[in-house]
Symmetry: C2
Subunit: 337 residues, 2 copies
């Protein structure tokens, strides 16, 4: 196959340049591949049924009618993160002193245990189970939005050590925080400018254009579209949008959840095939709570599915840019096969 | 030791919030530690003396008087990156189409081989050798600044697999690119605002304030200061500034180079002791070439030394924020010991 020429790309919404350099995929690599499989025993796992006492008391669970809170019998279980990045009990007040700003680390950090089965990954779960997990995502996101102290919510999933997981049992995390990340605020401002210029939601336009173009499409149905973004940060990165203009995941309709479960599983199964079951992150991208409750005409949620095949290094840490050796047109073709 | 309360912090120049959550350092970790040592043989290494033919022809070298280009006898050697992220031979023209921007991947990607010795890391090198490497950094940065196609230069060092290195033989990389990273442009704008408000370089003020405060200091002498930044992204992160207002590394004076070599070695040796010889990145932070050649009153270069003890995960990829479990005041105390 002919190696493509290098290219610089960015989407103007997030503003981050990405360098595409396919030849870098050929460079010699001296280190041993990471041990991807974590052969932990069920016995040590705090997320397995029968070990409910090893987590803080549950916040929510989908469970069999006769079963009791903090005992077995659940299908999906939500608990506070025992080692939460943020915690309750104090009030956030932003303080400034010269060039620095700070405040108490207040907020919410929850863990959603995706399945009672220790070794099942998402592509191995029944569609109904994935849909149940997504329904729990929706309900936790909706609950956190009612918390006046929460200004921004980040939902994410770390699968595999190289993707930042510390435990292998499938789980999702949700962090509700009292500040809006600078990158998110910047993207919101840009999306608003675009909407004022064109009169339309820029994400809706983006979706229509990728659908019409086709060459970066990975999968779609009547509710969702998955494509390899023009300025993908990572090889085989996929972005997944609801085709209906929808500001927040919490507004997802019941009939959309099953469709979303199917399309996520399709992408993850393709990724497993194409990239040898890689570590990955799933990242929810949506605007701040205030923006979504206010003028949501240019807010449109999406999910990123980010395979972790390379390490973030000095270049990325210095510039905030990325180097990707797989063009999204190639990635989409491989993932569609 | 009492665990400190969680805190949110940011410095207003880069604008990125960091969550400090010391308790996260205690969470269970199921995976095996990474194999940090890459016991590669000299035989396979393209950076070892005698293997000069395995790299593209050298751009520059410090070498013994009688030795010849692309043969042994060098102390520091600079070659084009054989698998460069950017390359020469085309012209960058930025093109916009709807929400996307792109252009040819033009630029420069060089590798500086820090030492002929395959297994020597910076803390093991003589001070004179480290000073020689820094002198080569200076000369390559100065050379790239004269290239009209180069708008921004990123110099960085990846040490260890988890820090993104693909080869273990000590080396530094320099990428000259035709665009300015969004994060850098944002910081430049903020630094300019601060200068106009106070009349002084905000970095000079920052240095003075850390020196006066003392509790985050790691090391200093008459030319440089190293401290653990208030909003450190990583455990045991160190930031190293010239105390003289200086916009670009290329302007470093001869007498400053030896001092810089000493202070970097001091920090790296402390890091090796405190964090068990971790993988790390060294990242040069400075403004774009145009800013540094124009109004450089609020441009002030620095180096970041970033130990990689945890993986970047879904939270960081979604928000651009970081979670750090070691407060910089503690990090500085440990590193000073």
């Amino acid at each position: 196959m002919k190696i493509q020429e290098r290219e610089l790309r960015r989407d103007r919404l997030d503003g981050r340049w990405v360098i595409f350099a396919p030849e870098r995929g050929r460079r010699p690599y001296e280190f041993h591949p990471a041990d991807r499989v974590a052969p932990s025993s069920v016995g040590a796992c705090p997320f397995c049924p029968g070990h409910e006492g090893r987590t803080p008391p549950e916040i929510f669970a989908l469970r069999a009618g006769h079963s009791r809170a903090d005992g077995p019998g659940w299908r999906v279980r939500v608990v506070p993160n025992k080692f939460g990045a943020l915690g309750a009990g104090r009030t956030f007040r932003r303080r400034t002193s010269g060039l620095i700003e700070f405040g108490a680390g207040t907020g919410v950090h929850e863990v959603i245990i995706d399945t009672p089965e220790h070794r099942r990954e998402w592509p191995d779960l029944p569609i109904t189970q994935v849909r149940d997990v997504l329904a729990v995502w929706r309900s936790r996101l909706a609950a956190l939005e009612t918390d006046a102290a929460v200004r921004f919510i980040q939902l994410f999933k770390n699968k595999g050590r190289e993707a930042g997981a510390s435990l292998s049992h499938a789980h999702t995390q949700v962090i509700g925080m009292p500040v809006v990340p600078a990158d998110v605020a910047r993207e919101t401002a840009r999306a608003g400018q675009e909407r004022r210029k064109t009169g339309a939601c820029p994400y809706c336009r983006w979706i229509a254009s990728e659908k019409a173009l086709g060459k970066r499409l990975v999968a779609f149905d009547s509710h969702f579209i998955a494509f390899a973004p023009f300025a993908s940060r990572f090889p085989y990165e996929t972005r997944l949008f609801p085709t209906r203009h929808s500001a927040a995941f919490s507004g997802t309709r019941d009939e959309e959840l099953a469709s979303l479960a199917k399309i996520i599983r399709t992408v993850l199964a393709a990724l497993r095939r194409v990239a040898c079951d890689p570590p990955y992150n799933i990242v929810l991208r949506q605007a701040s709570v205030a923006v979504r409750k206010g003028d949501a005409r240019s807010a449109h949620w999406s999910l990123e599915i980010l395979p972790i095949l390379t390490h973030i290094a000095g270049f990325e840490l210095g510039t905030g840019m990325y180097i990707n050796h797989v063009f999204p047109e190639q990635a989409a073709e491989d993932l569609r096969k």
